[in-house]
Amino acid sequence: MSIEKMKLVKVTGNLYEMNAALTACFEGGCFHPEHIVQRAGAQGGYHPFEAANPYLPILSKLDQIAGECQVDFAQRQPIGRETLSTAAQLLLGLEDGLAKARFGQLPAGQCAELQRESGQLFSFVPLCEQNGVCWCIYTASPANIAQADQVFAQAGFSKTWEPDLSGDTVEDFAFEKELRQLLGQKQLLMAARERGSSAIEQLSHMESLNISLDDIFASKYLEVRFGRLPSDSYAKLKYYDDRLFFFQPLSREGDFHWGFCFTDKVHVAEVDEILSSLFFERVWVPEYIHGVPGQTFAHLHQAIEAADQELAATDVAMKETIENHYDMFSVIYTLVQYLSNSFELRRYVSIYENSFILVGFIPDSLAEPLKSRLLGLGESIAVELADHDSDKRFQAPTRLKNNFIVKPFEMFVDMYGVPGYGEVDPTSFLAWTYILLFGIMFGDLGQGLVIALLGLFLSRVKKMEFGRILTRIGLSAAVFGTLYGSVFGLEHLLDPFYTDVLGLPGKPVEVMDPETINTLLMAAITIGVAMIVLAMLINVFTGIRNRDWEKALFSNNGVAGLVFYSAVLAGAVSMLTGGPNLFTLPYILAFLVLPILIIFLKHPLGKLSRGQKDIKPEDGIGSFVIEGFFELFEVVLSFVTNTLSFMRVGGFIISHAGMMSVVITLTEMMQGSASIVVLILGNLFVMALEGFIVGIQSLRLEFYELFSRYFEGQGKPFTPVVLDSSTMAD
């Protein structure tokens, strides 16, 4: 139940070592970067890193190829983290045009020798090795590249890609031409197939026609239109009996009539206009459709089959081509993706001449190891670790640290807001009270266990975080169900257990007993009072910890409010239980009037506590008094309503038992297997309905009655940036 301590980290160094520093910071996934220029403005000559990512066009091209060929990258070539980092460092020169690079394969036996020579004429990194072949990359200065090429050629190097970041366009990869040719072929075949299918679809509307289409369209004096007419319009055709055209329907599909419209060549324009007003949709019969429609079908089906066979052959050829180049493609993809991702990390640094600065937050426990690692990267790198609040420009982010029982409930806290760094993490309080409230309201051993099992299923199989919450509240409901002696609504099933095993006179709590109801409601209010008081104590604690005296002492949820609330409760309880009347004048003045007055004056008192001398209200005394009065009214009212609100906890215990008694009554009315069906359906219905209601009501109590007293949720979430390692080997 805490918020993880953070350290503010400032890393500075030479631009040449920026990449290595960024990788070290981000690959662990625990560094929350801050944009220093955004926060501080462009002061001191720092400016953000704004260069365009030169690897993105290459990556897009590779993605495009992968998409078009539907290649699955699930088996990407794993390359070691260190190797990729070294390759990225090597290719830095490529970005500035200070180096040229070659990518390709080499007999694995040659690698050791070339690695020994690396660093002089050329720089060399073997990326990964497979079947005696090593995929590698080497760079050299433009002056030395020819010489380096000779050395590598002698070693048996086969170049497959020459990375070039200077141009706007990305050159085609060696294997791309072959693939594109196959893709073009595939598209042509698919278009032919589509055309055939479309023709079949059109012909299907002419199936009843036993005249050759050639004869129809060859008419010398007639104009023919084929298409579909909405049924609404078809009904209107009778009103055009004085016009020189007729529509011959062939088939009906949904709201449309398909058919031919005939007119003569003189009236065709007028008829087209009429058809248009009737929403006739003309379909152009393709030139390649001839003869009687019924007979043409066979030809078209044959053509489609032929296209399908060719498509299958093309697919096989494409698969083979991809397979042949898969390793190379995969290595290049992994490398470029890493380069692109690490380039994007530079957006978080600020640049000043030849140096960079990176600022961010890291959990306290990881700060020193990161510092040591960064200092080991190069001489120019300097690391400064400071307290989270040492630089007022940055708000420390919040990372919640909770045990496995309450951790799933962070989801509910997130819904409301992220705790501030200086606040108390409410997750634990919320989790335990939520579990308690749900259990009390939904108490049933059988139903609770079903919910717990459902939660287990959702969390394990469906990987739903909410499932873990269900498990916990389900178990709580089962515990309270045991207390109430309720199993799937059967209120006396556990009686022998209480009497024979535990030796009790009966079940511990008889929910439906009229005498119990009042006790339940009073107990519910008592629980509510305890929770409200606890919430106020948390608020006081937070206020004291942050030296916010207005919040801790003078506010309605501070000491003043706590005294007022406790005094009213003590007085009321004393009167109701036949004790002495505590509401005497000194009691009222000391414990009711004085706290109210303090709450009324909390803003001026808060200003005084902060050392401010001008405590005069900004909007004038009149406005202050009016606002203060209504605020006080709301405060007092909210104490009453918040407390009574907890009566619903008792109410839902009774309602749950009541609903289940209806189910049991219905079950008893049935006979044989029908009664079991009713019992099961009734239980499912109550579980679904009550489960939702009780779950929502508990959350409402948490958010509205409790969170509003001590939790502001104005924090900033801890969002570390992670260098995508999905393509790397561990």
């Binding site: 909405p230 049924s231 609404d232 319009s233 009904a235 209107k236 009103y239 055009y240 949904g254 709201d255 449309f256 009429i274 007003s277 009737l278 929403f279 949709e281």
Partner: protein, 351 residues
């Protein structure tokens, strides 16, 4: 046996239907489309209208065809909802929708008669509604003149109000479209008022009177604005003859002052200071019709959310569904004119 309170299902169904409307984000997406095909395709694939447009071919669909389909869907919804109305109350629902369609058809025919192309009426006639209308296409399709129209309307409530607009000029007969419109709309509201009196009681009747009184008042404001703008010299008394009969009288002071306003701008200024024009902001003054729709949209949305009266919910929903069709048609038009998405959004009534 259908019980009277089954009518309450209309309220519940309308709340559900209203939930399935185009959202602001969807309108924004529609405004970014480049042509009618893209709009139709988006509506067909990504919105609640996918069922309505299931058989549409976006590549070839025309805007008037799209409009016809949307209106047909709206009419079908009205027919569906009508099933839940108590038989004795159906008169009101029919009167509200069916009578308006009939009036719009008659006005359409008058427009076509005035331009000498009555034969185009057959194409524009909503075939889907024919069985529910009292004046069928069989009569109206043969109309070639105003006398023919009057003969076709013989025996209906529309005949007498239109009788006085018969042209006396045999050589060059011209029908006063605006006169016919006012006469027919007066007839419409009179029928509606009578139907509301017979079918609705208590709160339902009170809410309906509020809605319709506001609607009439807003329509009058539009008529007056147009008269001020295009006939600045028209006397006050003549202007009053062009207005719809009010269900509730406007305050005399307001009526006098707006009738006496010298210019359309002065008129608008007066209107804006009245309670009828809460939604008339500066940027919608250019189109008072738009402002009026805005007000009605706000009111109808409020009624849909709060009312328990089936008739109120029905009338409010029919307006909202009409507004949705109008919005789509405006987008199609605006896209055709190459307007920017931001400009198009300003033309839409969205709440």
């Amino acid at each position: 046996m259908r019980l009277d309170f089954s009518e309450n299902a209309i309220t519940a169904k309308i709340k559900a239907l209203y939930g399935r409307r185009l959202t602001r984000a969807q309108y924004e997406e529609l405004c970014r489309k480049k042509n009618t095909s893209e709009i139709a395709s988006y509506l067909k694939e990504r919105t609640h209208l996918s069922g309505v447009l299931a058989r549409v071919q976006p590549a070839t669909v025309r805007s008037d065809q799209l409009e016809s389909l949307l209106r047909k869907a709206r009419y079908n919804k009205y027919q569906d909802l009508l099933q839940y109305a108590a038989p004795k109350n159906r008169e009101f629902y029919n009167c509200y929708v069916r009578n308006l369609i009939e009036i719009q058809l008659i006005l359409q025919l008058i427009r076509l008669l005035n331009i000498g192309r009555p034969e185009e009426f057959i194409g524009s006639f909503p075939g889907f509604a024919e069985s529910g209308l009292r004046i069928g296409l069989d009569k109206l399709a043969r109309v070639k003149s105003y006398d023919g129209l009057l003969a076709a309307l013989e025996g209906t409530e529309y005949h007498d109000p239109l009788l006085r607009y018969r042209s006396t000029d045999r050589q060059n007969p011209y029908i006063s479209y605006s006169g016919c419109e006012i006469a027919l709309m007066d007839c419409y509201y009179a029928s509606l008022k009578a139907a509301a009196g017979r079918c609705l009681k208590g709160k339902a009747r009170q809410e309906m009177e509020d809605i319709l009184a506001t609607k009439i008042a807003l329509e009058n404001l539009i008529i007056l604005y147009r008269l001020k703008k295009y006939y600045p010299d028209m006397p006050k008394e003549e202007m009053q003859g062009h207005l719809l009969q009010l269900w509730r009288k406007l305050p005399d002071r307001l009526t006098d002052s707006i009738l006496a306003a010298k210019t359309p701008e002065a008129y608008l200024q007066l209107v804006r200071s009245s309670r009828y024009a809460a939604a008339l902001t500066d940027d919608v003054v250019a189109s008072i019709g738009f402002g009026s729709q805005n007000i009605r949209s706000i009111l109808s949305r409020r009624y849909i959310r709060r009312t328990q009266q089936p008739a109120t919910a029905f009338v409010s929903y029919m307006f909202q569904s009409e507004m949705e069709i109008d919005n789509i048609l405006r987008i199609i038009e605006a896209v055709r004119y190459g307007m920017e998405p931001g400009e198009i959004m300003e033309l839409l009534v969205i709440h």
